[in-house]
């Protein structure tokens, strides 16, 4: 779920872009530094970015009837760490905006903040704190949490931009969370299961 182009007022768009910028710049610097030390990094990161982009093209079995696609950021955060995911997610979201008309350019900052920063960090935090208890459960929670966090942040962004005239930000948040829950909550569950199976196929767990 990405916020479409033109959807956010200019001040909101600018504020979210500013909020996302330090993380993305940090990620970009990490990429440049990494490359100076290990030249093969460029190719591996290119492959990681392509993988993340294409993962979102895999159609998941839907519970609600609408088709859903994994975001890939939870799995990406476990495999490549959050700073790199901030950068890769920016690339992926830019490509989704320009190759699929999914998301937008003025809303890129807001989408990066939810999907490229909060999502991966939430996943990574869950993964780090739970993996010693049970790796399978840690993966499920991390990946599902990445989806849920992304969805919660996106709903918050929309609620801040369009508070309900009667009940304000709170009412609006309830509305957006409710409307998008139909697709996003089942997606989080299914993507968590998918990540377990993927890592099992790869022999990691």
């Amino acid at each position: 779920m990405h916020i479409a182009e033109g959807f956010l007022p200019p001040l909101h768009a600018a504020a979210w872009t500013l909020a996302a910028a330090p993380f993305v710049i940090h990620g970009g610097r990490a990429v440049a530094r990494e490359r100076r030390e290990r030249p093969e990094t460029t190719l591996l990161l290119g492959a990681a970015g392509a993988f993340t982009f294409l993962l979102s093209a895999i159609k998941l079995p839907s519970i609600t009837g609408s088709s859903s696609h994994p975001t890939g950021v939870g799995l990406g955060a476990i495999l490549f760490r959050p700073p790199v995911m901030a950068f890769l997610s920016t690339v992926v979201l830019l490509f989704q905006a320009l190759l699929l008309a999914h998301g937008g350019l003025t809303t890129l900052g807001a989408n990066v903040f939810s999907m490229g920063i909060v999502g991966p960090w939430a996943a990574y935090a869950a993964w780090c704190s739970l993996r010693r208890l049970n790796r399978t459960a840690a993966i499920f929670v991390a990946v599902a949490l990445a989806d849920l966090a992304t969805y919660a942040v996106t709903s918050t962004q929309l609620a801040l931009a369009f508070p309900d005239p009667a009940t304000g930000f709170g009412g609006s948040l309830v509305k957006f969370l409710g409307v998008f829950a139909v697709t996003q909550v089942p997606l989080a569950v299914v993507e968590g299961l998918l990540a377990i199976l993927v890592l099992r196929v790869l022999g990691d767990i």
Binding site: E5, F7, L45, A50, F162, P165, F176, L194
Partner: protein, 251 residues
């Protein structure tokens, strides 16, 4: 064979492909700017109409491609606008209402979202990704980041073909007949995709080593001259929309 990305195909085949990126960005960005910042009526409607005329006219994007591409973002826009249209009241329990204010906001969102999406398409359907990355390179975005992005583009296209064929081969063996098999097949697809991605990167490293690869991926960007008439027309068009919506603008 299609590549799976109709917008990308349109961009490579576009009659505007050889135009300078800057002038296309000016037009697309100008339309986005008026859409986002000026009163939605009549600004968004004018911007949307202009983008549509540009896309179907001189940029010669096939109407079928355009319709397919805008379908998904339009769904988000409609759902989002509906959420705004309905106000959540709280008087002794939850209640829903539609007020003049919510109607106006919802309509303006519908207009801005549609115009914005079409505005982005002005650049997306006329400019291959690699030209945009070249423009970012000239804007001093670090070389390493541009190289990674350019590689993501190439590998997405190479691996998409793989992903598509893998999915079709699974379907042939009834891998998607129910939820259980679908989840299992999707996982095999995701894992297979990851392995193939790594494999591609490793093989590319070896393939490029002979040509002097040492971490960076330089390539020759074509030189393109900016067209003054194009820039002037774009500025005039965006200016007219801006003035009209400022003068006649309601909300």
């Amino acid at each position: 064979m299609t590549t799976g990305f109709p917008l990308d195909d349109a961009a490579w085949a576009s009659p505007w492909r050889h135009r300078a990126v800057g002038e296309k960005l000016l037009l697309s960005g100008g339309l986005l700017a008026v859409t986002v910042s000026l009163p939605a009526w009549p600004g968004s409607v004018l911007a949307a109409a202009t983008a549509l005329v540009v896309l179907l006219g001189p940029a010669r994007v096939a109407p079928g491609v355009l319709a397919r591409v805008v379908a998904a973002p339009l769904a988000f826009i409609v759902v989002g606008a509906l959420s705004v249209l309905v106000s959540l009241q709280w008087e002794a329990g939850p209640a829903l209402a539609v007020t003049d204010e919510t109607r106006r906001t919802a309509l303006s969102l519908l207009g801005r979202g549609t115009a914005g999406t079409l505005g982005v398409l002005v650049i997306a359907a006329t400019t291959p990704m690699v030209d945009l990355l070249g423009a970012l390179r000239r804007l001093r975005v670090p070389e390493a980041c541009i190289d990674v992005a350019a590689l993501v583009y190439r590998l997405v296209l190479v691996l998409f073909a793989t992903l598509f064929q893998m999915g079709e081969a699974q379907a042939a063996r009834l891998g998607y007949r129910d939820r259980r098999t679908t989840l299992r097949s999707s996982a095999a697809l995701g894992a297979g995709l990851l392995l193939r991605s790594w494999d591609r990167a490793r093989r590319l490293e070896e393939g490029l080593a002979g040509r002097g690869y040492s971490g960076s991926l330089p390539s020759l960007d074509p030189t393109r001259r900016t067209s003054v008439p194009f820039v002037a027309t774009s500025l005039a068009t965006v200016g007219v929309i801006a003035v009209t919506s400022l003068v006649a603008g309601g909300w």
